[in-house]
Subunit: 203 residues, 2 copies
DNA sequence: CGACAACGCTACACAGTCGTAGCGTACAAG
DNA sequence: CTTGTACGCTACGACTGTGTAGCGTTGTCG
């Protein structure tokens, strides 16, 4: 976009600083002043590129969204454990998780930030849903599952423990969750009347 | 505690205002000034009772924790649907959910607020866990389930949709989740090796 | 009724952030 | 080399929140 290396350098420094402040102090600590100090950039310089702290932070998020890559193995359980395992690894300590946590609260009062929150979580969610849909297509799981629902049932418990109860999230937990959900979806014999409701028309 | 009705009135007004500001603007909007204005109370009066905005908010939370009551029907599915159904009702619009959301982010940087967050979510969580343990005792579900895990698997997806994806949370969803989880736990035949891992030694 | 306490109000000093302006310096690009 | 631009620095006024002090008024309770 911008050719001048001075501008690119400034923007990179400010983005980095904005995320750092947000992670360490939350939205309360974010101000043009604090970001400028953290970035080692003059406050006036920041005003030349952004109009408000919110604009800086939002701009910084765009330099944070990483495409989520995964090479499918062909087995649902294996792939789901891989994806969720990576989520379990990132949830406790990654910058991504910290930013997402801050956004959860901020999104309540700012539609723009709500959109960024969605964007941050989307790539992983889509990856999970794709795995489920592919497995359904291959016949590994019932063909009529609601992939959004299943994704929520898999990732939900991990976020629940991270955000609400602060319980640890480890690989053992991930495997258990995947197994219970897959078993619950497969169940067609005794409690079939129950499990059947898991199949809902896709919107 | 305090005998003087004037003090009780003031505290009630301030508590109410603090929660209102927190819900409407989040922690960013909370200040002694904003609370005083909202409560219709002089700022100096507030200083006579509290030393900081945080102290006010924390104090206000204590007047917010409601014991969670439930008369068990004896059937796990029925009772779980009731408890989670109430959660589904409260999540989208209750003051409780708004406060909890604000606390999720604030708890990252303030241990005291982390404790209040835990307290706010605890009564419902305990109710859910009790239902599971009772059902296990009665033999309705396998006896060796980890109730904390199951509670996370039931409530997690609801919070996930409310906090992360902003998808609607309705009764139909609740029933589906309960059915899948119960079916997944019951499953002893084909995929037993998988479901078995759901049983973990209680801590 | 009388003593005491809580409250509202005003005022003040202080700190932090905001947003803008001007000027000199350093770097980029033709 | 020369022009243009980005940057750092300083300074300023305005606004908002903080914390304290004093004083008059109102309500409480014995």
């Amino acid at each position: 976009m911008t050719a001048d290396p001075r501008v690119r350098r400034t923007k990179a420094l400010v983005h980095e600083a904005a995320i750092a402040v947000l992670v360490e102090e939350g939205f309360t600590g974010v101000s043009i002043e604090s970001i400028a100090q953290r970035a080692g950039v003059a406050r006036t310089t920041i005003y030349r590129h952004w109009s408000s702290p919110a604009a800086i932070v939002i701009d910084a998020f765009d330099s944070l969204s990483e495409p989520f890559e995964l090479e499918p193995s062909g087995d649902v359980r294996t792939d789901l454990v891989t994806v969720l395992g990576r989520l379990a690894t990132d949830l406790p300590e990654s910058r991504w998780a910290s930013v997402l946590t801050a956004l959860v609260a901020a999104a309540e009062h700012d539609p723009e930030l709500a959109e960024r929150k969605r964007a941050l979580a989307e790539s992983r969610r889509r990856a999970t849903m794709s795995l489920i849909e592919d497995a359904a297509r291959r016949g590994e799981i019932r063909a009529d599952v609601d992939s959004e629902l299943v994704a929520a049932m898999l990732a939900g418990p991990l976020f629940y423990r991270r955000l609400l109860t602060n319980e640890p999230v480890d690989r053992q937990l991930v495997e258990t969750i995947v197994d219970v959900v897959l078993a619950g979806l497969d169940h067609r014999s005794a409690g079939a009347a129950r499990a059947r409701s898991a199949a809902r028309p896709r919107r």
